[in-house]
């Protein structure tokens, strides 16, 4: 028998004090199998041990919340007895090591979380981060991740309807792959991952268990170093066809009413599903690993318990109704195998050919996992990076030159290279095509639709995690509102570095605080999410990157609008204030190579008023298009409103922002900076709308009543993008030229060899 010494503990990622706690909870020394169970269940990925104290502060309740955090996914009421079931999840570490399979299995994992709740998945979105596309490594990872997302989602037939992609060298060694899945369930059909009823049989169904992915959760809870490529066997391989069969069979089997509880085997596989189901139901579970279908020979209990082979489910079935369940799985050519039963008590007992080989209180693996209130310390450089003096930047290019560059920056450019590889029409629910502010899917058999957006700005969070996180919530929520959706729920994916460093932990604490405050103010409770830490390579962490997914509801799907201008001659109105804030902007990063300053200020009351206004205007049918201003500011937002319209241009005149707050000094260079700040500043809480002249008064009146600044800045028309500042033409380019640069920027880079 293996002696558990410091080497063994280190290999399992278990700290000495954690081992002491394990012995205390066990009342004895664990054997190697049991140690393995603790290793995966107490990993950061499964236990949230560093983030839990912070996550507890998030708002998780609301009039529509049916299921908050703690289940496989969250659920909100959308009327007519239906629920939207959704969650976001990351597969960051595997996607670096093996981009295609890492991303594909990430999609597979989140889809299982949704149908496990009894919901039929109808939409996928993703939030992706890569290094610069000017490097071969980033191109290879981007190519693989996009193909993997498509390869899985397209096959199974769930449309990928939207998302966002950012390229920045801070993600070169740690790409982020966050995938959100949304499904629809009857409220009465929602089923949970809890085991109940001693004597009820426990079934295993799906793919056979192999040695793939052993310690995947542990890998996702450690930093990368030069040896990370050796961890490739810890990345799982996906089989979307198996998942499709599982999805259909599980949804069908749930309708029999014979299923007591169900859970997918994701991270920590069989260990997680057995201990969590037992723990949630307050019961024990007894399983025999030899009954688990295996695709490799000679697997030991340790390997079977820790395998992360994909496309596997665990079900607790009502005793006496086994045949009903088995019949459905047979129909789908799946073999459901009884691997154990629910027991009295609270222990997870693992047998091998009838012999007890592991015996652990299941709460010790789940609820009693250590919770750390890790030390937090504001980084010494934090205040310093918030300093920004435009005068120190030297020369600024003309607005036209800056516009030409920004429109073709991969982060701003069209993401069609990616989303054309995603089937976005399957399911016949997709109302807003990818590339709009928010994805919009209709809810069949109702008049309603759901608008969904995922957003995050790592640069803002690096400069100020509290405000950066608030801005992420505000942007996702604003995008949903711009499609006419009233936010009803949110899910978050926290992507950070090593939480054992007080500076990273401070970022996490501040970001969660920001998310909480913004979600409260904007009426979007958090119903679930995911935490991905240790996103570091050789000691360098990614930008702190909380990604928010917000779901909103439209009572009348026919009212939705998109970002694109519709009619020649319509008035263009800016809702919100243009204040020229350049801190953390794409302009500063791209044009001046600088990431500095304070992120844009945000007043949540004003943001809420703006969002309520745009939702009302859309409901009243007063506007033709709505587009939020984010990366690249007002000028880029105006340009984007002209794209995908067949060349419908815009002429706008913007009032220059006051120069005195910018620290630009006098003189001609100061004047150029003022113009650029006016056009490319990324102030929050702004929406560009277009409206027919006859509705203009109504729009302005409604805005005034809501206390939202509204100003007509121009007209739709012509075939140029013409933007002047205080009457002085600053940007003038044919729509076709700008659109071509924007549309082809990513594919041009992807055609580079290497």
């Amino acid at each position: 028998m293996t002696v558990i010494d410091s080497t063994v503990l280190e290999r399992h990622g278990i700290k000495p004090d954690e081992y002491e706690l394990i012995q205390k909870l066990m009342g004895r020394e664990p054997n190697l199998l049991e140690l393995g169970l603790f290793s995966v269940m107490w990993s950061e990925h499964c236990s949230y041990k560093s983030s839990r104290v912070h996550l507890k502060t998030l708002p998780t309740t609301g009039p529509r919340v049916v299921q908050g955090p703690g289940e496989n996914a969250g659920a909100v009421d959308i009327g007519d007895g239906l629920c939207a079931v959704f969650k976001i999840e990351s597969h960051n570490h595997p996607s670096f090591i093996e981009p295609y399979q890492g991303a594909a299995t990430g999609v597979g994992g989140i889809i299982r979380d949704i149908f496990t709740m009894g919901a039929r998945p109808i939409a996928l979105l993703n939030a992706l981060r890569f290094g610069s596309l000017d490097t071969p490594l980033a191109r290879r990872i981007f190519e693989g991740v996009v193909a993997g997302i498509g390869g899985y989602g397209n096959s199974i037939g769930i449309p990928t309807v939207g998302g966002e992609i950012v390229f920045d060298e801070m993600y070169a060694g740690n790409p982020l792959v966050n995938v959100l899945c949304l499904g629809i369930a009857k409220r009465s059909d929602i089923i949970k991952g809890a085991a109940k009823g001693a004597g009820n049989p426990v079934y295993y169904v799906g793919a056979k268990t192999g040695r793939d992915g052993i310690h995947g959760a542990t890998m996702a809870s450690a930093e990368f170093d030069e040896k990370s490529a050796e961890k490739r066997p810890a990345v799982q391989v996906g089989d979307p066809f198996m998942e499709k069969l599982l999805m259909e069979a599980c949804l069908e089997v749930m309708k029999t009413g014979a299923v007591v509880g169900i859970q997918d085997m994701g991270a920590a596989g069989f260990t997680c599903s057995t201990s969590e189901m037992g723990s949630r139901g307050g019961v024990g579970m007894s399983v025999d690993v030899t009954k688990v279908p295996q695709r490799e020979t000679g697997m030991i209990p340790y390997e079977i318990m820790l395998s992360e082979s994909q496309e596997r489910m665990l079900l607790v079935v009502e005793r006496g109704r086994e045949h009903e369940v088995e019949a459905v799985f047979e129909k789908w050519d799946l073999h459901a195998v009884k691997v154990g039963e629910v027991t009295e008590g609270t222990r997870l007992k693992i047998h091998e050919r009838g012999t007890l080989v592991g015996d652990v209180p299941n709460r010790a693996l789940t609820d009693e996992a250590p919770v750390y209130r890790r030390p937090m310390k504001e980084p010494s450089w934090q205040k310093q990076v918030q300093q920004l003096s435009l005068a120190d930047l030297g020369t600024a290019p003309s607005a036209q030159e800056a516009f030409d560059q920004l429109i073709a920056v991969p982060t701003i450019a069209s993401k069609r290279w990616a989303y054309r590889q995603f089937d976005h029409t399957v399911g016949t629910n997709t109302i807003a095509q990818p590339g709009m502010s928010a994805a919009v899917v209709r809810v069949k058999d109702t008049k309603r639709a759901l608008a969904i957006s995922v957003d995050g700005n790592g640069r803002f969070c690096y400069l100020d995690p509290y405000h950066g996180a608030m801005l992420a919530v505000a942007e996702a929520s604003r995008n949903v509102a711009c499609a006419g959706g009233e936010p009803i729920g949110a899910t978050n994916n926290l992507n950070f570095g090593n939480p054992e460093r007080p500076e990273i932990m401070w970022q996490i604490g501040e970001a969660v605080r920001g998310i909480g405050d913004a979600c409260k103010a904007l009426g979007a409770p958090i119903t679930g999410g995911n935490v991905s830490l240790y996103n570091e390579t050789e000691g360098r962490a990614i930008y702190p990157t909380p990604v928010l997914g917000v779901v909103g509801i439209l009572e009348d799907s026919s009212k939705t609008v998109t970002r694109t201008f519709k009619t020649d001659g319509s008035a263009v109105v800016l809702l919100g204030d243009n204040s020229g804030e350049l801190g953390g902007s794409e302009y500063l990063a791209t044009i001046h190579g600088k990431v500095a300053g304070k992120p844009p200020a945000i007043d949540l009351k004003r943001e809420a008023a703006l969002q309520a206004l745009i939702i009302k205007l859309i409901r009243d049918g007063c506007i033709e298009s709505a587009h939020d201003c984010s990366e690249g500011g007002l000028a880029i937002a105006l340009a984007e409103c002209t794209f995908d319209t067949g060349g419908l241009g815009v002429s706008a005149d913007i009032t220059a922002v006051p120069g005195d707050g910018l620290g630009v000094g006098d003189g001609p260079m100061g004047a150029t900076f003022v113009i650029n700040a006016t056009l490319f500043g990324e102030s929050a809480s702004r929406i560009v709308v277009s409206t027919a002249s006859r509705h203009l008064d109504a729009v302005v009146t409604a805005a005034n009543a809501a206390g939202v600044p509204a100003r007509e800045i121009g007209r739709v028309g012509g075939d140029h993008i013409r933007i002047s500042v205080n009457g002085q033409t600053s940007v003038d380019v044919p729509v076709a030229t700008a659109e071509n640069a924007w549309a082809t920027a990513i594919e041009t880079r992807m055609q580079k060899k290497g």
Binding site: F241, L245, K331, R420, Q421, T425, T428, I431
Partner: protein, 241 residues
């Protein structure tokens, strides 16, 4: 009339076709499991999109062995209208109900977008309600939609006016820039010699309602309603349009 939509285990547009037939076109429709052996009184059969059996071997390669395919073949032999959409088209090719084969898209990657598709012939049950050379805006979503046939077979197909849909630009002109996958002769869809079996890669069922971005595809299912009405009364022996 009644549509039967065959459900293979990996079909993923089965419900989309069912929905378009029943809820949009307003006819009867039924989903028929691939292990079934009869078509439940179908007047027209749809083989839907998806990846019938995982398609790790070749798209549609295993589906032709599904029990229901004997019934589909018999139905087609009797002149019954059969439509294969995307993967359903691939299954018809593998089953030998249509000539030719599908290979990987010439640009390798999966392609998902709306494209203009020109109706070449209106004397099939699935184009009977179309105008000649009508251009439809339809979504495609496939990785293997690159139509191939040996030169002699291709000549025969063209000679017998079996090309039913072609990829074009919005103005209806054929050209390499408007061919999304490298298909020979820009072929998007074909029929058999008897003209009752039609397969196409684009998805008319996903473009049957305006909120989805295009309602142009509705005419494909509406055509079969018209064709069958024109054929009645009398036993269904041959489709006359």
């Amino acid at each position: 009339m009644k549509f039967s939509v065959v459900v293979f285990p990996g079909s993923n547009s089965d419900y989309d076709a069912f929905y378009a037939a029943s809820r949009v076109v307003g006819e009867q429709a039924e989903l028929v499991w691939h292990k079934d052996t009869d078509l439940k009184g179908a007047d027209a059969v749809i083989l839907p999109g998806g990846f019938a059996h995982g398609d790790y071997l070749r798209t549609g390669a295993i589906a032709r062995f599904s029990p229901i395919m004997s019934a589909v073949r018999a139905f087609a032999d009797r002149g019954g209208p059969v439509l294969g959409i995307c993967n359903g088209f691939q299954v018809l090719l593998e089953a030998g109900l249509l000539p030719g084969a599908m290979v990987r898209n010439d640009r390798i990657k999966f392609v998902s977008k709306h494209v203009p598709v020109r109706v070449e012939q209106t004397d099939t049950p699935f184009t009977a309600a179309c105008a000649s050379k009508q251009v439809l805006n339809l979504p495609i979503a496939h990785g293997e939609g690159n139509y191939y046939a040996p030169p002699d077979v291709l000549d025969e197909i063209e000679k017998h006016r079996q090309v039913i849909f072609r990829y074009t630009n919005a103005a209806g002109a054929v050209g390499p820039e408007s061919n999304p996958n490298g298909s020979l002769n820009s072929i998007a869809g074909i029929c058999n010699r008897q003209r009752n079996v039609v397969g196409l890669m684009p998805h008319p069922e996903r473009a049957s309602e305006l909120p989805l971005g295009s309602a142009d595809g509705r005419v494909v299912l509406a055509s079969v309603v018209k064709a069958l009405a024109a054929q009645a009364p009398g036993p269904r022996s041959q489709v006359h349009v």
